[in-house]
Amino acid sequence: MDKRAVFRSWWLPTAFALPQLALIALFFYWPAVAVVRWAFTLEPPFGGAAEFVGLANFRDVFADPLYWNSVVVSLIFALAGTLSTIFIGLVLALAVDRQLPGSGAVRFLYILPYAIAGPAAGMAFRFILSPERGLMASVNSAFPDFWNPAKYGSHALILVIVVFAWKWAGYTFIFLLAGLQSVPKSLTEAAAMDGSGPIRRAIDIQIPMLAPTLFFLLVTMMTEGFVGADTYGIVARTTDGGPNHGTEVMVYRIVEEAFRGLNYSGASAQSIVLIGLIMIFTFIQFRFIERRVHYK
């Protein structure tokens, strides 16, 4: 992970990092201080004296079965979302990487969903996937209740994952395509000589060689899945956490709690737990996965 050739200076790197660190301190850590403070008090929405309650907020959070439900939903969403975006991106990147005639055009088209704003994407999917109006309505009329995210939590979860995957597959696609193009040609050729066909080559050679890219995507997509603005937007706009808390991911719950419930303190406590969770995840990713990533 460390490079060999490094400059020696302490003030220069500090100066270089300073602008960003300053912004982060101002707009991230300083507000975060407030979030932490709220987590230990009962903060009235409009401000004013707040009572210190110690860990009571955390106790409430942990005692709430719906909170644990949201943890599970979040885990499923982040994992399934991450894996499916990476999977779709990978399959398409592998296809485009074969450089058949026409792949240049689709390459461009595949990135487009990423450029679309969450609300617009939500609207489109409302017309496509709603069980009584969109495309799925006709499927439902043939097989009643085949698709009903308003009824089944599992369908709803699939729905939000689909929107997430649609939105981000273009993003993973482009990174993976780029990664594929930097895999030495001779390796796939060697595998071809060893008798493996295109799919086998992809699985045995190309995918393992994409490790650095996959790692980057794993970290960013997991984080995006857990706390991304899109995650909140997608859930809020398509299922509103329902049916019956079936798609209530942690970030949605936090925002709802804070803004709908005006319970800043409870939301802050949840945020802190969430950050803790993601940090553990990220730590694991860096510790155990990046180790296996070779950068050159």
């Binding site: 903060e43 009235p44 409009f46 401000g47 329902g242 049916p243 019956n244 709802e256 709908r260």
Partner: protein, 431 residues
């Protein structure tokens, strides 16, 4: 050196107004603002949509905490208590008095004003876009199904539904999980409490009781109807809310806000006959007044006096009969003052086609003097409570969960919200 500004070049006092309406309703608010700006030369109101009631409340809070609050903000019914306890506003009466306006506060319909008033009956905020829930039905379908009565009672609704079903209508009545009509309005007109302490008016220690009232029977009834496909669930998630379901003639009966009156008229194909009525009650019930919905305008504290002058002028301007009529014409909202309503009635507003029936909303709101159960709802974190009940309904109707169990759960969770709220505002009392 000193400058003496000549009146001609005097800077107009600018002040801000944040509102939650969006879409074409947002446009109407903008129009009201420009009308005001053109009507006088001293003030300039800058109106900004925050695109939704909940974001308006959030943003108002954030702004207030940062001391960047607007002079006027539009807060929906469910946020009333949060504002009241915030000490972040200037009561309506104080504002108008301080700025030299004499308002006849009794001119506001009691059913409307009570929601936003102190225990002593003094208005904290200005009722603005007010509504109440109504019952809409497709008269053409009724005729086809051979229904020759108006659905005044739930028994009649059931009967009508059966006839409509028999006549081949897939969705006799549409229903969503919005609690406003199904729980709040139902409870009010049946004189059922939602919470103890007069729905919270008497103290922060109120507890919800909706799991012990007629509301439980109502849910059970609706669920039975749903099982028989007499009631059909229509939500955004399914592809269509109740209003589009009605306007697309999928569903023949719905409960929704009077504010949708205009939209329904515009969206239903021309020539379709439809009617609006007061919400049905169970036979033998003594009907009570319904609850006011919509939002009111709050004046935020902590700003220079000049801005308050402007705010007062604007609020006064909105209160003029002409403006009241204009507002009710271009939206589906009802006039909030008696004089406004009388004026409109007098000039025949409610006789003509698109507006006919809207007067029933006033009738519903003013059906009786308010009781403890119909004054309004003053519960902390009420949005959250609505969500809990909505989720319970979702579980009951979509996933066949047990009515009582789900409502008990919702009540328990709602009470937790109330207790936390009480603790947050420990030491404060309702005035």
């Amino acid at each position: 050196t000193t400058f003496t500004a000549t009146p001609a070049h005097a800077e107009k006092t600018k002040f801000e107004f944040w509102y939650g309406l969006s879409g074409d309703l947002g446009e109407r608010v903008q129009e009201a603002c420009s009308k005001f700006n053109q009507s006088q030369g001293d003030f300039e109101i800058v109106c900004t949509s925050q695109n939704g009631y909940d974001t308006t409340l959030q943003n108002t809070i954030a702004a207030y905490r940062a001391k960047k609050q607007p002079a006027i903000t539009q807060i929906y019914d469910a946020g009333t208590l949060d504002l009241m306890l915030s000490k972040a506003f200037i009561p309506a009466k104080t504002l108008m008095a301080d700025n030299g306006y004499t308002i006849d506060w009794n001119n506001y319909f009691g059913g409307i004003a009570n929601y936003y008033a102190t225990a002593a009956g003094e208005l904290n905020s200005f009722p603005f876009n007010s509504s109440t829930a109504m019952f809409y039905y497709n008269a053409d379908a009724f005729a086809k199904a051979g229904i020759d009565f108006k659905p005044d009672t739930w028994e009649q609704v059931e009967e009508a539904a059966r006839k409509l079903k028999a006549a081949g209508y897939e969705c006799p009545m549409g229903m969503s999980f919005d609690t406003w009509a199904t729980m709040e309005q139902f409870s009010a007109i049946h004189n059922q409490p939602i919470a103890t302490q007069a729905n919270g008016y008497k103290g922060l220690d109120a507890e919800v009781v909706f799991n012990k009232t007629k509301f439980v029977d109502q849910v059970t009834f609706l669920k039975k109807m749903a099982d028989e496909k007499l009631v059909v669930i229509k939500t955004k998630q399914l592809g269509m809310d109740v209003v589009p379901a009605f306007t697309s003639q999928t569903c023949q009966m719905i409960q929704t806000s009077i504010a949708d009156h205009g939209t329904i008229g515009k969206t239903l194909p021309e020539g379709v006959k439809w009617e609006v009525a007061m919400l049905p009650v169970w036979k033998g019930t003594e009907r009570q007044n319904s609850l006011v919905g919509g939002a009111s305008l709050w004046v935020m504290a902590g700003l220079p006096d000049a801005q308050y002058k402007g705010a007062a002028a604007f609020l006064n301007y909105l209160g003029t009969p002409e403006m009241a009529q204009w507002w009710s014409t271009v939206t589906g909202y009802i006039p909030v003052t008696k004089t406004g309503f009388d004026a409109m009635k007098a000039n025949g507003f409610y006789d003509k086609a698109p507006y006919k029936g809207r007067e029933l909303a006033i009738a519903s709101l003013t059906y009786t003097p308010t009781s403890e159960n119909t004054r309004g709802i003053r519960l902390g974190g009420f949005t959250q409570i609505r969500k809990e009940v909505g989720t319970a309904l979702e579980a009951i109707f979509m996933q066949n969960a047990d009515v009582q169990t789900e409502l008990d759960k919702a009540a328990e969770r709602s009470n937790a919200v109330l207790r936390r709220f009480e603790k947050t505002y420990a030491g404060q009392t309702l005035n």
